[in-house]
Subunit: 128 residues, 2 copies
Amino acid sequence: MPRSTRRRPALAHPATEEIDLLDVLHALSDPTRMTIVAVLRAEPERACGTFPVDVAPSTLSHHFKVLRESGLISQREEANRRFSALRTVDLERRFPGLLDTVLAAYGRPGGEDGGRGGGPGVRGGEAG
Amino acid sequence: MPRSTRRRPALAHPATEEIDLLDVLHALSDPTRMTIVAVLRAEPERACGTFPVDVAPSTLSHHFKVLRESGLISQREEANRRFSALRTVDLERRFPGLLDTVLAAYGRPGGEDGGRGGGPGVRGGEAG
DNA sequence: TACGATGTTCGACGAACTACGAAATTGACG
DNA sequence: CGTCAATTTCGTAGTTCGTCGAACATCGTA
């Protein structure tokens, strides 16, 4: 078999119009995945293994799959690394303002002690 | 014991500052609960049993509990009926624009056939 | 070819979720 | 008081979710 052919099925992403709101909300309702999205908001793209999350590689891979299949992120392959990026343009076209609003909300400190979704260690582009 | 005392623990609602974003997103990621929220957006309040959802009463009660504990809705008792209302003011203060943006997104038709989150059969409901 | 690095897939497990029916609670009405 | 109506609580079944470890695949390099 040709060595240039990747065995992966080209990383199926949903088309913009197929992005389902409930899938997106579900994907965002997990702290690990929300962290990934928040980090991705500040950078154009990033390799999978470089996210500040504390889970096993297989678990991380699962989360990326959920994010990708929900339409929140896209992934491209480069060598044996996989880079993820937020689908900001598609999301904005499909659900205007949603991503910005949700991420702004995520940046808000909570009345609790900043446990779960209160104080993310990610401030993305707020400063800039 | 005084008969005027309701046995229910006064329907605990989270304080505004305690509303957790991930809990809210998770609550909204279920089609039944999203329908409830969408209906509630059009009316100030509504009795539990009058929502256009197709689940058993006990299941519905569970969904209302999830919505209430997430901070999305408030419930008050009147006789043996329980009225639910969106906590629009609290939500707006906690997560500005979130509710509007999500519900606007929910109203968008999808590329699919409008099955799940595409076209909610909810508009005014004033007819009843 | 062998090795290390990166990342996925598979199989498993416990926890959480959604669903339902039955029973219990509460209030209105006769 | 007895009954109906609305809703919750309890117990339970089936599914989904998040997590991990082990094994596999790919790429770059020695």
